[in-house]
Symmetry: C2
Subunit: 362 residues, 2 copies
DNA sequence: CTGAAAGCGCTAACAC
DNA sequence: GTGTTAGCGCTTTCAG
């Protein structure tokens, strides 16, 4: 193979070149098959009131001409695009290394597919992205948007609201001061309740020096909630808190710091499985046995992770895929929750319960 | 292929609900500001021939009304959407755990942004996805597509070709039999050449029992090329090959298998950094010193990985972000490379050179 | 500089 | 069943 072959002839035409061969329109199909546009339209849209023979001829014409409907035109009249934007505000690097998003997205895509909608993923990373994404969302490219990983005070909820675009949030959207943004539908896990379950479990095991490795609680609501849950349970007991960033390495480092400061700790609630896997590694390197010396409980229950750590991780289970599905269903106004009549002021949102999965680390 | 969009009954209404509050149109703005639609259009599109006062009034109207142009309508006439699809054929789980895609996507997004285009990411995972993605791509939602991680024999290149949608491929698209798909523009790394550099380096170090951990060479061209490069150099020497799957764990397992079968190996070329980090771990666990006992060379040079392994990884550097940028630039037909006249039969493609980065593992 | 008019390709009444 | 007729909201000649 030639190295660095740069045969870029005719390059500047790439984007227009091929489209110059005008794509066949509904009208072309109609002419070709000798019927009217309406009939073709009916066939394309699978309506019933079309004679069998007409339908056949139209279908022939369609494949002969290689006709593909122009969505822009269709959309202009139907007001529907068949696409839903999934906006991830998280910087990509975090996102791509976190299996959490994989599950969530899978759930979203599955549910969207059931509705015949295509999920399109957009990233919100640099400041510039806001304007472009807002343009995109407001431009009628999509029927709705699912947004997540927004930081407190993110201006996207407000922007979306102004666009009058149906939207739901993964994780409760917060204002700068930590107050919830009003009037936005969201799906969230029961972070606080889950954390409580985890810490209570540790307590029930007889542990008394229970530490916690937290997420970036000043930036992510889930992290703040999980820390709150920890505090709820350990009201009058010592709080051994180390903040990390939801990464594996961060978890490892935080665990090390915790061990340095509190060599006598006998349990730790780590606010995510990814961080827990890092913590486990530190514990091993420091010669602490898990769970004998230190009991460990994680959060998320990303099975690919929690089942394969050594030892397998006791963790708070979140049905992430279900959350994804719910998000999509909520967007389509189809949440299983009953809609309470007349209570229009209340935006339908759902907090998904968690449960503790006991494996071997605690 | 007749493309028929799925019918949506109830959900359709839900999603249009909020938009019932009719969004202001160009015409509304025109009336509000007492000018014609044309003038408003000119202001919106930043044209020069508009009097200052008219422009001001129009702008007032726009913000007063909260006007956002309807892209579908605009697109219907301009034939431009301002969006480019990035299609990842890889199952998500792999994708999300591989830092490679993060860099690539970043490069793509950066370049696209320079052209004012929004990148929208689509996944191709289950069989169903093909039809929906094809509909989407053919539906005029995007100006072009960047596709990658296609398996040999994937039918997407052909589908895209029929749609007459400008497209470029990340990694050379292959037919089932391993032959390249003709007529498709692609950007690829110099996998074979890079592998040669790696193995030659090992040879120069005096190693003589050089093994390799490969990617899934029956499914991914890059893996096949890297293996070929290994073979190129070790023509008359023993080939110690273990196939893995481009995951960290796979790399660790393959390394273990290699050690079992060839306890005397003194070097290993691992076909990706992610796998190499796994291999390094196995080596450590088995008590082999790196590079004293076994020299290790990786591939990709994902700095976040290769610089943080223990010891830091000697690896084949690929400028992944640059590849991403090139992909986008190629799509826009604006590659900096010279254009050779009259050579229209040759599709512009580029193979990006690699270079060996020597750190401490070899 | 500005406006009027003609579509872009499609669907949706409404007649036949 | 099928064709006819209006637009959907925008850009774009082409006159003024």
């Amino acid at each position: 193979m030639p190295v660095c072959t740069a045969q870029l002839a005719v390059s500047e035409m790439v984007l227009t070149q091929r489209s110059n061969a005008r794509r066949p329109t509904l009208e072309d199909v109609a002419r070709w098959s000798g019927v009217s546009k309406s009939t073709v339209s009916r066939v394309v849209n699978g309506e019933s009131k079309v004679s069998a023979e007409a339908a056949v001829r139209v279908r022939e014409a369609i494949s002969a001409l290689g006709y593909v409907p122009n969505q822009a035109a269709r959309q202009l009249v139907t007001r529907r695009t068949g696409a839903v934007a999934v906006v991830a505000a998280q910087p990509e690097d975090r996102l791509f290394l976190d299996p959490f998003f994989d599950c969530l997205l899978r759930g979203i895509r599955a549910e969207l597919a059931r509705h015949g909608s295509q999920a399109v993923l957009l990233f919100l990373d640099e400041p510039d992205d806001y304007a472009r994404v807002a343009d995109y969302l407001g431009g009628g490219h999509v029927d709705g948007a699912i947004l997540f990983s927004l930081r407190p005070g993110d201006r996207l909820p407000e922007m979306v609201d102004r666009l009058a675009l149906p939207a739901v949030f993964g994780g409760r959207p917060l204002l700068c001061d930590g107050d919830p943004v009003r009037g936005q539908a969201y799906v969230d896990g029961d972070n606080r309740g889950g954390a409580r379950q985890a810490v209570r479990h540790l307590l029930a095991l007889g542990r008394r020096r229970i530490a916690t490795v937290t997420g970036p609680y000043d930036q992510e609501n889930s992290a703040a909630e999980r820390l709150a849950g920890y505090r709820d349970v350990l009201l009058d007991m010592p709080h051994l808190v180390e903040r990390a960033d939801y990464t594996r390495q961060g978890g490892a480092d935080a665990m090390a710091a915790l061990l340095d400061r509190h060599p006598d700790l006998d349990a730790v609630f780590v606010a995510s499985d990814l961080m827990a896997s890092g913590a486990l590694q530190t514990l091993r390197e420091r010669g602490r046995r898990v769970p004998e010396d230190v009991a460990v409980v994680g959060f998320d229950d990303l099975v690919s992770l929690s089942e394969t750590t050594d030892p397998p991780l006791t963790t708070v289970h979140q049905d992430v895929a279900e959350m994804g599905r719910l998000l999509a269903r909520l967007l389509f106004g189809r949440t299983e929750q009953d809609t309470r009549e007349g209570d229009t002021s209340e935006v339908p949102s759902v907090v998904v319960p968690t449960r503790l999965v006991v494996r071997q680390s605690a």
